[in-house]
């Protein structure tokens, strides 16, 4: 097992009050697997991902349970030790490509940043690896983009730059936190194709977080449905989508816009 999350609970504490964001979350992932977490807003899916990445300020949250990545419990590591994994073995792509890139750094510098932090490669080698990652992320003209600044790029291209930056060190696990939500449908489909390619070519496992059931269904092998911080249902995509056991999952699936309905005339009111 590459990743094992067991009995993970996350509580946000503010003064006397505490809110449980995630309760008793369990998930196992193998190398190269693509797993989706779906749920409505506030269901705890992003908190789970952020906990996995070590993004939460430890002073503000109470985390219990374990997150074992390649046999090491990430929750017991010091910040310094965790940094060894961040960006190298574990990478994340955020939801908002418009704000996830630094406006004052060139695309090349940002894609290279992980290499600069985690390796001792020379300038030329870094550049070569960055261009390679940019090509892998589906950017058609990496040479020209290398010197550009983010404001010169479209949203779809920026998200590809984020993917390139996340992939430049060939991580074993890529967390995608609603990476296509801010993009239009055409670009969304292209980005999903790119992620699928990366998974196939590089064997990178992907933990894909989304509220879009259609996207998860087309990309993932397994899916976890969350609601109010608790896992409602989990299993293979076929199992969950075609034979849902829980009422909530059924309701979620029924709430998806079906093609038939749209063709038959939009219901008013």
């Amino acid at each position: 097992m590459m990743l094992e999350m067991e009995h993970l609970s996350v509580r946000f504490c503010q003064g006397q009050q505490a809110v449980t964001a995630v309760h008793d979350f369990n998930l196992k992932m193998d190398e190269g697997e693509v797993v989706g977490i779906v749920g409505e807003s506030g269901s705890g899916k992003s908190v789970t991902a952020h906990t996995l990445m070590g993004l939460l300020r430890r002073s503000q949250v109470e985390v219990s349970g374990s997150i074992r990545f390649q046999g090491v419990d990430l929750l017991t590591l010091s910040r310094q030790a965790l940094r060894e994994y961040q960006g190298k073995e574990l990478s994340i792509i955020f939801q908002e490509p418009m704000t996830s890139l630094n406006p004052t750094m060139t695309i090349g510098a940002q894609v290279e940043e992980s290499l600069r932090i985690h390796t001792r490669l020379g300038r030329e080698e870094r550049r070569r690896r960055a261009l390679e990652a940019m090509a892998l992320a589906g950017l058609s003209n990496p040479q020209a983009l290398y010197r550009c600044y983010p404001h010169q790029l479209s949203g779809g291209m920026r998200q590809r730059v984020m993917i390139a930056a996340a992939l430049v060190l060939r991580p074993r696990l890529l967390l995608a936190d609603e990476p296509t939500t801010a993009l239009d449908v055409t670009i969304q489909a292209q980005i999903l194709d790119t992620l699928r390619d990366i998974n196939r070519k590089e064997g990178t496992a992907i933990l894909f977080i989304s509220h879009d059931l259609g996207v998860v269904k087309s990309l993932c092998q397994r899916v976890v449905v969350m609601r109010r911080g608790v896992i409602v249902e989990s299993g293979s995509v076929e199992q969950v989508f075609y034979h849902p056991q829980q009422g909530y999952t059924k309701a979620l699936i029924a709430a998806r816009p079906a093609r038939k309905k749209l063709m038959g005339g939009v219901e008013h009111g």
């Binding site: 993004l55 940094r83 060894e84 908002e96 890139l101």
Partner: protein, 272 residues
């Protein structure tokens, strides 16, 4: 990228021209003055502007052109030194406070509030009263008093950026705090910091002038613009040129840097 029609940045152009002129003026003053700026001449006391003395002479017969050439240099040196102290210390304090927050942030900011609550000239007077007058003491006193405004400016920017997505992303790549502060966030604060520097420079020039005007600035032998204005005060009505030309140099110096700062801000604002 290209094909965008370039608008002429008038602020930048005008500021550039004025600042270049002033700097040239000051550099000239370092190597050459028509007369010795300190030389007294009884015959020329209060002489009006003429070919021999383009800016006239003061009440002691000293050539005002020569004195402004030298005095502008003194004023500029003091202003820049003050700015460097205030900006560097303010930058470091503000960046750390803004980035880390917490108790230290609160304490430092309250201290800055306390300093800012007093008129800075008054505080500078107190400091000078304790450590004594002189060029370097003036620089030290004003420099320290300039720290809070920069610290607050920079802190505000860091608070704004510290939880931005791209900063989070950098953290998740394993980038160290130091590198995040100086490489990832600091360049984003340039537009605001530059305006702050331009305003700070003007304040520093005026503060030096005010201190010298009050007679606690540079020593009387050394010319500075503020000190010249101070001396000219009594003769303003009889020999107005003793007041006019030093004041003109102050105005051109400040105007040039202000316009330059505004122009730079506009230019960087376009890019971001």
């Amino acid at each position: 990228m290209s094909g965008v029609k370039k608008r002429i940045n008038w602020y930048f152009a005008a500021g550039g021209v004025l600042t270049t002129l002033t700097v040239a003026y000051i550099l000239l003053g370092m190597v050459w003055t028509p007369y010795d700026p300190g030389a007294l001449s009884a015959a020329d006391r209060g002489a009006p502007p003429s070919l021999a003395h383009p800016f006239g002479c003061d009440h002691m017969g000293r050539d005002i052109f020569s004195r402004t050439l030298q005095g502008a240099g003194t004023t500029l040196t003091i202003a820049l030194a003050v700015l460097v102290i205030g900006c560097v210390a303010g930058l470091v304090l503000g960046a750390l406070c803004g980035y880390y927050g917490g108790v230290v942030d609160g304490a430092v900011m309250r201290l800055c509030d306390a300093v800012a609550a007093f008129p800075s000239i008054l505080l500078a007077l107190v400091v000078i009263a304790v450590i004594g007058p002189g060029k370097y003491n003036i620089i030290a006193a004003l420099g320290v008093l300039f720290i809070p405004s920069f610290a607050r400016l920079v802190r505000g920017e860091f608070v704004k950026y510290r939880d931005r997505d791209f900063v989070q992303a950098a953290r998740l790549m394993g980038v160290s705090h130091g590198r995040i502060i100086f490489v990832h966030i600091l360049p984003n604060t340039w537009p605001v910091l530059l305006s702050g520097l331009a305003i700070g420079f003007n304040n520093a020039v005026l503060a030096e002038a005010s201190m010298s005007y009050l007679g606690i600035g540079v020593s009387p032998q050394e010319a500075s613009l503020g000190q010249m204005l101070s001396e000219a005060q009594s003769y303003m009505l009889t020999t107005p040129w003793t007041m006019f030309f030093p004041a003109l140099v102050v105005v051109v110096l400040i105007l040039g840097v202000s316009l330059l700062g505004e122009g730079l801000r506009e230019r960087m604002g376009d890019g971001l």
